[in-house]
Amino acid sequence: MSVPETTPTLDTTGLVAAPGLIGSGQDGGVRDQVTAYIQRVRSGEMGALPAIAGFVVLCVLFSVLSPYFLTERNFANLLTQAATLVMLAMALVFVILLGEIDLSAGVTSGVAMSLFVVLSNPGGINMNWLLALLISLAAGLAIGLFIGFFVARVGIPSFVVTLGLFLGFQGLQLIIIGDGGLYRIQQPQILAIQNSNLPTWGGWVMLGVILAVSLVTALLDRRRRARAGVSSRTIALLWIRLALIAAIGGFVIAQLNQNRGTGFLAISGVPIVVPITLFILWAGTFVLDRTKFGRYIYSVGGNPEAARRAGIKVIGIKWAAFAVCSTLAVVSGVFSASKVGSVDAAFGRDIVLSGVAAAVVGGVSLFGGRGRLIHGAVGALVIAVITNGLGLLNLPGGVNFLVTGGVLILAATVDAVSRVRAGGSLSRR
């Protein structure tokens, strides 16, 4: 396959200047862009493609195997089950992009949510729920800074630091929760996140906002590029993308707007957790793609020495990434507490490895530098579908772990093979 933009020819003299020689990868029509994309995928930049394929295959498989899988009720259930993992995976992406890991993200959310229930418990301190929530988020931030200090400043491998905290925080959580063992979540605002829904029109407004934001950002980008005098991708791609968002979003919202109540009470609408998660996804992606902080995370993950020589404060970037990760981990804890309805001493203990697995399944490289937030989210959906689907099949619990583990290794293999292919094409030149 011949693609002029992506296959450079080796010139032996290099002395003859040709006019307008360097492409930007933005030229050509839809067909050229599609071939260029296929070329990138073939050379190993698969992104979330395997995960999306896996998601579709699993959905088809489970809908064949179980009559309950494709019901409106299960669909909403799947989203709320997945929300915690999606959020945690997105949190972890920030540190995995650096080539680091945070094994304590789960127990960090546990410590912060223990703090929340103890502070806000009506029978105890009875603090305002919003204030308690802010304190919990601040605790997450502080924990992130604490980890960052040891990893970035002292230079201990993050695996060791966070493994230590994983053990230590379980104890801290036990101390905070005390002998009570378990606190019920009693704040309606927290419970609403996972258990209440937007009104049916709210879902359509949400889709409208998503489409409008996508359109406006894309058009502003094009205007900016035009002002700088460089070409943009053909506008047809934008329409295709918007049409895809509208179609998928429309399908999902239409499903969620069906009545899924079992009794007399009608339940319908998009769960409130969905717009919250989408907003954090959007904001985080914005930071990673368009700001110096985000770019520097990628550069430190790709080549810390190059980043240092380029004048980037590597220590500060690492520090900040751990702070972001732990804070977002607390948000995932809020989602989990809202879903489960209680917080106990083991809260958040078992989820962190699933979060790491989700990021890897989604296409985030554990070696750093490669991956996006959406990859973490898609990977989490894959793992959530496995849990949900196998649960519907009434298989023994052990099967779930076996399948999830198998999918993780499969995903890592796909990543490794695609790297070899990318490396192969490099050595062929």
Binding site: E5, G25, R224, A226, S299, A306, A310
Partner: protein, 250 residues
Amino acid sequence: MDAPIIELTEVKKSFGPVSVLKGVSLKVYPGKITALVGDNGAGKSTLIKGLAGVQPYDEGHVTFEGELVGLHNPREASHLGIEVVYQDLALCDNLDIVQNMFLGREETLHGTFDEGTMEREASETLRSLSVRTVGSVRQKVSSLSGGQRQTVAIARSVLKSAKVVILDEPTAALGVAQTEQVLALVKRLAERGVGVLMISHNLADVFEVADYISVLYLGQMVASVEASKTTRDDVVGYITGSKTYTEATA
């Protein structure tokens, strides 16, 4: 002849009891290529680290465009327009060419990247260096060959109108064709009026592009000659210490 853009006078550097630079003088001229040669351990790396501000010299003077300068840290050096292209290329594989060329000095507009401007400037810089081996400036660096990477690293150094570019073994580990490309690029760099200091072990490369050759031997500058007025054998002699340079300085 023009005045030198950088002149080192009697710079010294020692690490504990080991004296690595024992009073070295060196001139780099704008628009000319000065090759710095010498055997392993002669002090070449220490010399350029001083110029880059990474390891300041202990003693001696450095003048830049006739003015005495300190060079205490990398920022000072890059502020003056001294850029170093290191041997183990300081590029991020996971970023594209534009992102690498602008790393650490991105153009922003309202706090977010001005990708269009960066893309245009990157293309213009590559074009001005007559680089034609790069297909797209949005290619990931991981997909580039060694020569192309070196090209990007050099282009990165001239992006912000560097006055002096120091190249640490730019052709090491490159194939024949790629070496030719990079040497052609080094020549074009000098044609733009940039003062080039090139470290190399490869005397064929040195004689192909250099205007001046400076030879370090055990921390001392044993010869500084015009490339056209010396021979390969002489230079080998200076490098190994078997020959002493006696003529008037170039």
